[in-house]
Symmetry: C2
Subunit: 296 residues, 2 copies
Amino acid sequence: MRTYLDCIPCLMKGALEMARLVDGNEIMHKEIMDEVARMLPDFSLGCSPPEMARMIHKVMERRFGDKDIYKSIKKESNHKALALYPRLKEKVQSSNDRLLTAVEIAIAGNVIDYAAKNTLNIEDEIEKIFTNDFANINKTIFDYEHFKDDLIKAKRILYLADNAGEVVFDRVLIEEIPEDKAIIFAVRDKPVINDALIEDAKECGLDKRSKIMSSGVDAPGTVLKYCSKEFLEIYKKSDLIISKGQGNYEALSQEKENIYFLFRAKCPVIAKHAEVGLGDIVLIKANHNECKSIIQ
Amino acid sequence: MRTYLDCIPCLMKGALEMARLVDGNEIMHKEIMDEVARMLPDFSLGCSPPEMARMIHKVMERRFGDKDIYKSIKKESNHKALALYPRLKEKVQSSNDRLLTAVEIAIAGNVIDYAAKNTLNIEDEIEKIFTNDFANINKTIFDYEHFKDDLIKAKRILYLADNAGEVVFDRVLIEEIPEDKAIIFAVRDKPVINDALIEDAKECGLDKRSKIMSSGVDAPGTVLKYCSKEFLEIYKKSDLIISKGQGNYEALSQEKENIYFLFRAKCPVIAKHAEVGLGDIVLIKANHNECKSIIQ
C-alpha cells in the first residue's frame, strides 16, 4: 500500500508522541517536528507508510541514539497480555471451532497498537473477547475457509508479528496449528514504536512452539527491501504467511505470495484501501481484489 | 492563546482538506502540503493558531487566487440555519429565562465549524437544542450571572462573529439584548475557511438589529494586529465584547478587555487551555483565571 496524503499529518502526530515519550522539553520537540517537516517534500507517496515511519524513526535515532522509547510500554503490554493468557486458552478450549476462535483472538490482540492514532480503548476492546460484543464486530472481509484450507496444506509457515503484548494473542493461534507444521515467528530487528522484538517474543513464550527470528527490518512493517537475506529466503520458501497488523499489511498488501493479513482496521486510510469498515476485524488474502474478480 | 505542537498536524490536515475542496489533483495537493511543511520551521509557537492558519491560507491564495473555497458550504449553512430560525425563536419564547436560552442557542450554533477537526455531528448537535440532550452537555465554566450583569450595564456591545450559518444563532441572542444598547456585529474581511463574511451576516438578517462591519482580519480569529484601525477604535470603546467561537478565543484569550467567550470546546488543546472538558458548552470571561484567583 502506498502512502496517502492523509498519512502525513498522522505521521507528524506520531513523531510528536514519540518525542514526548523521551524526557525532553518543548523546544526539542519542536526541533524534531521541524526536521520531519523539512523531510516531507522529499517523501515519495509511492513508498509505503512504514517506510515513511522508518525515516521519522531515523530522525529520532539521530537525536536520541538507539534508545528503546516504548520499552516500558512494551513490557507492560507483555505482562498484561500474559496475565490474560489462561483466559484466552479457556476461550479456545470451550469453542466449537477452536481454530476460528484462535484466529479471532489473534486479531483481537491487534488493538495493542501505539502506531495507530485511533480511539479504540485497548482494555475495553480486549475485554470484548470474553463477551458477546466481540461477535458483533463487523467482518466485511473474513476469508476463514480459504485460510483454513491453505493452513492445512502448508508445511512451512511464516508468522509476521506486529506489537509487543499482541504476540501473546498470536501464541494462542500458533498453538492451534497442527504440530507437523514448522512455524517461524518473525519480529522487527530494532526498536520501532511498540513493535515486538526477539526479547518480547521470548518473554511471551513464542519459542515454545515456533522458532523466533528477526526479519532484519527496522521499520514498523515488513518492508521487503530492508529485510535480511536470511529472512527473505524463508519468506520465499514458506507455504503460508500469516501477517499480523496494519504495518505489515501496508508493507505487503501488493505482494503476490500466499499471505493472509490479520488485523483490526484502526486507521480510516487502511480501512478504505482494504475495502472494509473502520474498526472491522479483517482476515484478508493478498491480492484479494484480483481473486474476487476471478471468482465473480 | 499560543500555538501548541499538537496544532501542527491539525493545521496540515486542514490544509489538505482545503486543497481537496478545490478541484485539484493529488500532485497539486502534495505540492501544497510540501509548501506548508517548508514553512513550519519558521512558525513561532508564540503566535496564536489563527495566525498559523492565516499563513497556510496565504499558501492557498498564491495557488488559487482569492477563491472563496467554502462558499457553497457557507451558503448551505446559512440556508439550513435560517430554516431553523423560527424553531429557535419559539424555544426562546417558551423559556423561563429567555436570555439564558438565547446564550445557549448561540453557543449551540458554534458546532457549524469546519476549522475544528472534531467528530461532532453538526445536525445531531443542533437537534439537541430541541431536546433535553442539550441540557445534559457539560458546562464546567459557564459564567452566566456575571455576563448578564455586564450586559445590563453595557451601552456599546461588540459581537465578534465566527462561522457562516452560526450567525443565525447569534441573531437569536442579539435579538434578546435590550434595544437601548448599540450592537456592532464584526465579521472577517476575506474568505477564510467557513468564517462568516459581510454577505453571510446580511443574508442571515444580522443587519436588522446590529450594525455589520468587517474587522479587517483575514485570519480565522480576531488577531488584533491584522484588524483595521476603524475596528480597533470600536474594540477599545466597547463596554462589552461577545466573542464567538474557538478562533476568536485563540486570538483574544490573553486580552484584558471586557470580553466573554462563547463556544463549544471541540478541540482538545483549546479545552485544556480553557480548563474545560472536550465537548463542553463554554461561557468564559477573558482572564478568568486571574478573576478566579481574586475570588477564591
